[in-house]
Amino acid sequence: MPCATAKTTPPEQTMHKTIIWAACAASAFVGIAVAQDTTGGPRIEIANPNATFPAQQRALASADVIERGNGLYQVNCMACHGRDLRGGDQGGPNLLRSDVVLNDVEGEVIGELVRNGLNRMPANTSLDADAIRSIAGYIHSVLATAQGQGAPPRGVEYDLDIVVGDARRGERYFNRECAMCHSATGDLAGIATLIDDPVNLQNSWVAGRRQGRGGGPAPVQIVTVTQGDGSSVSGELVRYDDFFVSLRAPDGGYRGYSRVGTGVTIAIEDPLAGHKALWPEIEDDEMHDVTAYLETLK
């Protein structure tokens, strides 16, 4: 996917990352152009709605121009508008959602504002047309990497530690609420090694099914279907609604039953019942404590 590379760039290599941003934007644009060349061909899905707006559709300036614009931006604009263009300490507004930037193509709107100033922004007559085109080219190259649903470009990747709970409190909670089904030395031994991302670990233990890499569906529910004559069969629930139930019997066979006017009754054993009972009750602090405790089970 475009711009995945930016994520792996160390945050301190800001210049380097900026260049990658531009390169990503260029490749994203190529992708659109290719799609547009297939007129009359097969159906084209708009898979990335983000790419369907002008800020992501338009051709980028050349790499040289963007690079020059980047330098000029840092000298002339960054103090107020921020390194990431989302607004800075000096109170300048976020350029990535600015009417001026969004309605600009190659510096014609931005340039007018720069030359005349606006509100607290002083007029700047020292930048010539070429410089303004370069700055605009740089701003548009960043905007082109914005993500879907209005989300900004991938910028700084924060190293966020979600393990903030108290492991000892978490252990007490675990022993009280979880130990009837789970064991730190049994099914959960080494769980923090098996699921080495704390976010996935927390998501998995709360949901009761493994999430993220190696994740899978919820554990199978067992259904017992009793028919009007009193006979019953139990098996893995395939599907049910108010009118129908189906199961996989122990012999591997499939059985389906109408529930409309047939006297069929069903009873379902949900292995996640304990987890579902937890969701409305557990406090976020308790959740973080348990995650901290499970993190000790390497």
């Binding site: 799609a35 709605p49 800020a55 309605n103 649903q149 924060y158 976010v199 009118f243 987890h275 557990i282």
Partner: protein
Amino acid sequence: MRLRHVLCVIVPCLPLAAAAQGQPVVVPPGALLEPLGGDWPSYSGDYTGQRHSALRQIDKESVRHLTLAWTTQMNYSVRGRGGLAGAGGGFATQVGGEGTGAIDVSGGAIKGSVLEVDGILYVTAPDHAWALDARDGSELWHYHWETRGGTHIGSRGAAIWNDSLFFETPDNYLVSLNARTGEENWHVEIASFEEQYFSTMAPIVIGDKLMVGTGNDLDQPGFLQAFDPATGELLWKFYTVPMTADSPGIETWPNVDSASHGGGQVWVPGVYDPETNYYLFGTGNPSPGYTGAGRPGDNLYTCTLIAVDVATGEMAWYFQSSPHDTHDWDSAQTPILFDGVIDGEPRKLVSTAARNGYFFTLDRVTGEPIVSVQYSKHANWSLGERDNGSPEPNPGKEATIPGSLVSPVEGGVTNWQPSAFSPQTGLFYAHENSGYNILYLTDPDPRGSMGLGGKRASFVGNLDSAFDAIDYRTGEIVWRHPWPNGVMVGAGVLTTATGLVFTGDGNNNMVAFDAGNGELLWHTRIGNMSNTPQTFLVDGRQHLLVAVGERLYSFVLY
């Protein structure tokens, strides 16, 4: 305007114009004042939003005899002759638009209301509009809009004023077609494509005005506009967030920059009260959606029920159903107007069930809050209600770095799919979706993120989702049908004068309940509906219509 349209203007479609001579207009605007009856001429069928049909052929006994009259896969082909179910002789597909034709949107579920007038159905999807014969589903005309792009998330339907049919496009045009032929009258731009607006709302005709809303995910301000249906001229524009330092509501934002990038989009049709001449509608979430640090305050008038005077576009009253929302829980759903009795006094009321899990009843003339109740069993984001009826958000349930376990999930307890009301039972019918997710703050920047960025939402699971019949006087749930496995349902609701409630069950069934007690009376497994069941008469027979993705199903009693 492109050449083919110019031709149609110069030579004004003579045979078709002649065909129209002497015929009554398709929908005179005065007809929209009538309660929902034999036709379905507007988004909600009538101005109340009750979605309560007076038709009586389909009742608690006969509902089990409903028969599939026809099913039609919509024709998204943009070339060649459409019409008359491919039998030839129909009108060619009409093509308009400001795009180059390079973006081929040949699909998209039917998520809007279908209009039905005198045996003709009017259907929309993003970049497409059709007329079908309601008797057999044959296509009469097809209009395709060549788009510039934009978010193609859905089209909520069309509006008809006299002989003109109107719909909005994802790249922000209001298009007027000849309802009889599908030929374009005109189109006007209603919002900026550069600023990343996209438009989905079904326009609403009120007299000689069209109510037009739009959408946006990039922190742009929401607004409702009124257009002249004859010419496309803009008559007024009402911003839902403060745009200047002296705008009302500015005290609920840190500054004008934040307020004027604060969202509050108008993407679902509202309702109309002819006695006050108020149009009542809901607004979307504040922006940025999940990172509220940069917009401390209540963020008026986002997530708010608003009454505007149709004559002037001035706000008459407001009620905020989610102050300072931080969960993308729009309150844009269609409210419902009805007359009722509160504490022994007859009252003119409006009720609404919001995505945040609250049910509200207010005086629709004054905006006085009467009922403010969390009807969702599981919603866990509120600290209770303020004196003015607005819920008080719990800041602890915003996205946090170590994760916040939040119910409901992003889609909400309800959403845009319309709820319904029955004046006979006095009950308000709404889905109650219950699920949990863990919200992680991934962008702790104090400026806040942008749009819906800055968070990660990890789905935990759903449980206890149900369909509820709610007493408008108290917000109490009178009957509640839990869905098997607690599945969350995205389906609209229809009630009838014969005591039926139609909706979807999230397990691919359309179902009919007894409105009084919640007993299930009928179902058909046609797939999960993508719009809302509707009913009308065709040649004196009551039909029941619903869309499943790109396909329509029409049921009838013979």
